[in-house]
Each structure stands twice: as structure tokens, then as C-alpha cells.
């Protein structure tokens, strides 16, 4: 499947239906049904449901750009969760409830409470070291990768536009070096998500952990650089920057921070008596 073939219609949909104004309105408790119905109508929510059960039967690898786009547009509804939940329910032969489904668990709750208003949704608990939790973590990792892309784009645009000392601030080497690091982290986040998506379903621990560790580690640093570049305007409620930076910090904690996954990945790694590159080839990238 060509990446852009799938992504282009989904992006167009979010571009028009999930503008920053819509994100703000839903966060403020406004009507989410219009956005939800548009996404439901697109068919993407059943992307990982087998064709025999009425879904699109796509591979997880095909879904990387879609899951990343959910983060890039700060979609304030559990779209990635619902895609994952419908897949998990289909595996059990169950019919999913209509409407948004949120994957919850010990980790998810800690961060979601107070961080972002949770849109009303059905809940499914994902716990323990299960493929369900691995998939939930990947959904968050992909969201971070997408949010990071948006923040990088916004920061580059602002650096070229804001003038101080008679020239754009992006001409200052100090900011160039910070933005270069931000770009490195943003690309690494996306590739870590691509690794996990390529590993396929049911998702095992090592690729999921890789994606969540790399994205979660980068999240606070990327958010910090975006704010540093924007100066005071980025702190204002009126500016859209916080729509993405707040989410990055929340997604980092949901379904396990990097520290939680590092301990698990480290345990698996130490159980195998082979070189690190051999282990990575076998357990992470296949």
C-alpha cells in the first residue's frame, strides 16, 4: 500500500474537520459529534478489523501515517484508541459498541485526569504485558510523533518570521542548533513508530517499547524547544502551540512513560544471551 494513497484523504478530512478551533471547542466541552461522524464515515475506524468481519483488513504497517496524523492534528477524540479497540474486539469475535472507545488502564488514567478533558467515550481496560497494552502504547507513541511534526513545522515557520536584532531569529546559530536537535528527535520518533508498525499484529513487547521509549523521551524536549523558539506568545492561551505541547506531555505518561517501558525492555533484553544488534534484529525490527 502506498503511504500517501491512504494518508491523503484522511489528512484532507482532518484539515477541514479538525481545525484548531474545533479542537478548542471540543476541549471546552462543545459538541464532538460532527467531527466524530465525519471520521466514522471515512471508514478508517475499521481499518484494522479483518475484511471477513466487515473491516478494511489493513496491515498495522499501513497505519503508521494515519496514527501519526491523529497526533499532528491534535484530534481531541480517541480515534487511534477506537481503531485499536475495534481490532481487539474483532479478535475476540465481539461487536464493538458504537461511538468512541478509550483504552484505559493504570497508566492511562494517571495522565488523562486533569491533563485534557476526556471526551465522553466507552472504556476498555488494557493491563499487564499484553498485546493490547502494546498496541495502546503504540497509539500514544504515534500521536507524539505526529504532534512533534506539527511543533517542528510551527517552530520553523515562526523562526523564519519573527524578527529581532534586525533579522529573523532563525538566523541565530543558538536557535539553529536547538531546532536541528528538535528535527533529529522528530525524525527519530517517526521512525521508531514505523519500526513498531512494521512489526505487525499481535504487537509484541520489544517494538512497542522501542516506539514508546523513543517518543516519550523526546516529548518533553521537543515541547520545550517549541516553547523556547516561540517566546512569550507561545505561552498565551490564544496561541495554538499549547494544543500540541500539552498533549505531548500527557501522551508521554499515558500507557507507561519511557521509564516503565525501559525496565520491561531491559528485562527482555537481558534474558537473551546474544549481541545487542542481533537481539534488535530478532526482537524489534524482525
Amino acid at each position: 500500500m502506498d503511504r500517501t494513497e491512504l494518508l491523503a484523504p484522511f489528512e484532507r478530512l482532518l484539515e477541514s474537520a479538525c481545525t484548531p478551533a474545533v479542537v478548542r471547542a471540543i476541549e471546552a466541552g462543545g459538541d464532538a459529534a460532527t467531527l466524530w461522524d465525519a471520521i466514522e464515515a471515512s471508514g478508517f475506524l475499521d481499518a484494522l478489523v479483518p475484511e471477513a468481519q466487515g473491516g478494511a483488513g489493513l496491515a498495522l504497517a499501513d497505519m503508521a501515517p494515519i496514527l501519526i496524523a491523529c497526533g499532528r492534528f491534535a484530534v481531541p477524540l480517541p480515534v487511534g484508541d477506537t481503531i485499536a479497540a475495534r481490532h481487539l474486539l474483532a479478535l475476540r469475535g465481539e461487536t464493538p459498541p458504537p461511538g468512541p472507545i478509550r483504552l484505559t488502564g493504570g497508566h492511562a488514567e494517571a495522565a488523562a485526569v486533569g491533563a485534557l478533558p476526556a471526551a465522553r467515550a466507552q472504556e476498555i481496560r488494557v493491563d499487564g504485558d499484553t498485546p493490547s497494552l502494546h498496541l495502546a502504547a503504540l497509539v500514544r507513541a504515534a500521536a507524539i510523533a505526529g504532534g512533534a511534526q506539527r511543533l517542528l513545522d510551527a517552530s520553523l515557520a515562526y523562526a523564519n518570521e519573527r524578527v529581532q536584532f534586525g533579522k529573523p531569529i532563525g538566523r541565530q546559530q543558538a536557535l539553529q542548533q536547538q531546532l536541528a536537535v528538535m528535527a533529529e528527535q522528530t525524525v527519530a520518533a517517526r521512525i521508531a513508530v514505523e519500526i513498531a508498525c512494521a512489526a505487525g499484529l499481535p504487537l509484541s513487547l520489544a517494538p512497542a517499547a522501542t516506539a514508546k521509549i523513543v517518543t516519550s523521551t523526546a516529548a518533553p524536549s521537543i515541547a520545550a524547544t517549541a516553547h523556547a523558539v516561540h517566546g512569550a506568545i507561545g505561552i498565551s492561551a490564544e496561541h495554538d502551540l499549547h494544543l500540541y505541547t500539552r498533549r505531548l506531555l500527557a501522551w508521554r505518561m499515558e500507557h507507561g512513560s519511557e521509564g516503565w517501558w525501559e525496565a520491561r525492555l531491559g528485562t527482555e533484553r537481558l534474558a537473551a544471551n546474544v549481541g545487542s544488534v542481533d537481539w534488535v534484529r530478532a526482537a524489534v525490527t524482525g
Partner: protein, 383 residues
């Protein structure tokens, strides 16, 4: 951004090279301790390089016509990855195989290709890179070594420094000024193939802080070079050197410099009955980053395979990769010394100190961290 820079699996036909190269690499590294294996691409073993050439593992990206393997960058990735992760001594052929041969293939005359490439592929001749000078490090365009035309060729005067393997190599590809002055910057530079045994060339090894002499200074005093020492186009050397640096920076050696230490530390943990949470997290962190950097390095290789010159992408991977390589010894030192009750064997200790001491060079050689970030910033449209 960077849409074509994406995850790729290695093609199965290239993966198929792995068992055979592994046998050779293991054999070469078998008698070396971890601290010696950690020197990998500074470990010089001409006989091993010739053996690799005989077995068809050098010049994998070059056409068969010139003695190469005609396999492409993915095949080279697999071979290089095995050599590095096992710590085989690869320094002798490293530079010729990585960048001199592709440079000669891309810019050399047919005669130059026939003269040099088959011998590079057989592991018979070794090259070094003559870019840096005492007054020209990051500001490479300011080089002052100068070549003047004579009746029979070129007369070379000046000095290079930090030239890896100059004292053990047969040839240097030098970036020199052939017209104008340093003020002309990128104009007026050319690349010359210098026979290091030519009269007027003096090479003096430089010892590093770990006691090794892997680089040298090279003096040219009216060194007479033949007409065909010029490679590529006169005064167009800057363009050529930029393409050469993309090869120099894009390989997996920019993520694996501390891999021997990592594996030695993991083996140390595995010998313990129970491993604390901090060590587990560290192992998990390193593993996740290694997997991602490796995927990024393969993504870079994929761009090379598509015939592109991934200058910005290579800089991304090298900067992230060398940061990883440098964090490893610092974090492992912390981890080991946080458990004074657990004995550390002498070999691991030696490897740790070697890597910790040499690690600052990882983000200097091949272009400094700050210079690479500047290249990335340019790629981002900031300069």
C-alpha cells in the same frame, strides 16, 4: 519533512551475506580482548583486509568490471555491520572501501578507475583522506596546501594533519588549492591522488590520548606528482568533496563506536543474580535507541541505494548516533560504580576506559557536532 527517509527492511539477498562475513569477522576478532575490539575501525590489519578482498567483501557497491561486487549499499551495510559489531580490525581498507573507491568511480577517468579500483577491491591498496590542515578544521574551504601545474604534472606544497592511517596507507586523496586564494572559498579547489611514497612527502604519526597512533601529519615539500594525479575536474573539488562527505557520514560506524562496550556491559549484568531497576532501565533505553538508530542508518542506506546523496539525513543520523555512542560510556561508568559490591572484570574495565577516553573524538571526526547541526539547519531552511 524528510518524507523519503523511512523505515526499510534489509533485502533478503543482502541479509544472506551475513553468515559468511560473520565467520571471517569472528575469526579475526577471536584473539582480541574487548578493549582491542572496541578499537574496530582504528584496528589496522592488512592481512585481514586482503582476506576480505579475496572473499569478495570489499568494493561491494562497485561494478564487476572494476573488480567490485555489484551489489549496492544494502549489501555493504550488512557486511560493515557485522565487522563493526564483532569488533574486527577494519581500519586498513576502511577509507578506500567507504569513500575513496566511490569517489574514483564517480569522478575518475577510465584509466584511473582501472588503475585503482581492482586493487582496492582486492584489499591491496589503502587510502587516507587529506582534508584537515593545521589552520583548516571545520572551515575546510580555507585549505592552503597548494598544487601548481608543471611541465609534467603538479608541484605540491603544504601540510595536512589528523590524517587517519597516512603512515600506513598507499595513497591520499587530498583537497588542495589549485587556483585563487583562501578568499575564493569554494572556488579554485581540486582533489589530487597523492602517492605517499613520492619524494617530497613526509609522514609523521601522531599519538592519541589512549596511546594509539592512528592518525598522522603529512608534509609536502615540492612533491612532484604526475599529470593524472588530478581526480575529477580542476577547481571543482568542493563539489566532489561534498559528495564524498555524504559517503563518509552515512555509514553505521556512526552509531556502533561503543557497541563492543555495550555488549560487554550487558554480559556483565547477565552474570549477576539480580539486576537492579536502574540497570534494567538503562539496558532498555540503550536497546530502544539502538533499534531506532539502526533503522535510521538503514533508511540512509536506502537513499544511497536510490542514487541520492543524503547529506542532511546523514548528518541527522551521525549527530544522534554519536550522542548515543558518547552517552554509553558515561552511563555505563555510572552504573558500574553505583554498585561497588559487584566486581567488574579487568577486560570490561579496560574497554570502558578506552571508550570513555576516546569518545570525545566521535563527534569531531567526520565533521563536528556543531557543523552537522548547521548542515541540518540549512536543510530545514533556516540558513
Amino acid at each position: 519533512m524528510f518524507e523519503t527517509f523511512t523505515f526499510h527492511s534489509l533485502p533478503p539477498e543482502d541479509e544472506a551475506l551475513r553468515p559468511a562475513i560473520r565467520v571471517l569477522a569472528e575469526e579475526a576478532a577471536a584473539s582480541l580482548g574487548a578493549d582491542q575490539r572496541a578499537r574496530s575501525w582504528q584496528g589496522f590489519d592488512a592481512a585481514f583486509s586482503r582476506k576480505l578482498g579475496e572473499a569478495g567483501f570489499l568494493g561491494l557497491t562497485l561494478p564487476r568490471d572494476y573488480g567490485g561486487g555489484e551489489r549496492g549499499p544494502f549489501a555493504r551495510f550488512v557486511v560493515v555491520e557485522e565487522l563493526l559489531t564483532l569488533g574486527a580490525p577494519v581500519a586498513a581498507h576502511w577509507i578506500a572501501d567507504r569513500q575513496s573507491a566511490p569517489l574514483i568511480l564517480n569522478f575518475g577517468s577510465e584509466e584511473q578507475r582501472r588503475h585503482y579500483l581492482p586493487r582496492i577491491c582486492r584489499g591491496e591498496i589503502f587510502f587516507c583522506i587529506g582534508m584537515s590542515e593545521p589552520g583548516s578544521g571545520s572551515d575546510l574551504a580555507s585549505v592552503r596546501t597548494r598544487a601548481e601545474r608543471t611541465a609534467s604534472g603538479w608541484r605540491l606544497n603544504g601540510q595536512k594533519i589528523w590524517t587517519t592511517n597516512a603512515h600506513r596507507a598507499d595513497y591520499m586523496i587530498a583537497l588542495v588549492r589549485t587556483s585563487g586564494t583562501a578568499a575564493d572559498r569554494h572556488g579554485g579547489l581540486s582533489q589530487l591522488i597523492v602517492d605517499l611514497k613520492a619524494p617530497g612527502v613526509t609522514v609523521r604519526p601522531i599519538e592519541d590520548l589512549a596511546g594509539d597512533a592512528h592518525f598522522a601529519e603529512v608534509f609536502f615539500e615540492d612533491a612532484a606528482l604526475p599529470d593524472d594525479a588530478l581526480i575529477g575536474t580542476e577547481d571543482e573539488g568542493w563539489k566532489q568533496v561534498t559528495a564524498e562527505l555524504a559517503f563518509e557520514r552515512s555509514g553505521p560506524e556512526r552509531i556502533y563506536s561503543s557497541i563492543i562496550l555495550l555488549d560487554a556491559w550487558i554480559a556483565h549484568l547477565q552474570k549477576q543474580g539480580s539486576v537492579g531497576e536502574a540497570s534494567l532501565r538503562l539496558a532498555g533505553n540503550f536497546t530502544a535507541r539502538l533499534a531506532t538508530l539502526r533503522a535510521m542508518s538503514i533508511a540512509c542506506t536506502a537513499l544511497l541505494a536510490q542514487g541520492e546523496s543524503p547529506v542532511v539525513e546523514a548528518s541527522l543520523v551521525k549527530d544522534l548516533g554519536t550522542s548515543f555512542e558518547q552517552e554509553l560510556p558515561a552511563a555505563i561508568a555510572n552504573d558500574l560504580a553505583a554498585r561497588p559490591d559487584v566486581p567488574v572484570d579487568a577486560e570490561l574495565r579496560r574497554a570502558l576506559f578506552y571508550v570513555a577516553h576516546i569518545a570525545p573524538s566521535f563527534s569531531l571526526r567526520g565533521g563536528t557536532r556543531e557543523i552537522l547541526r548547521g548542515i541540518i539547519a540549512r536543510g530545514l531552511g533556516l540558513r
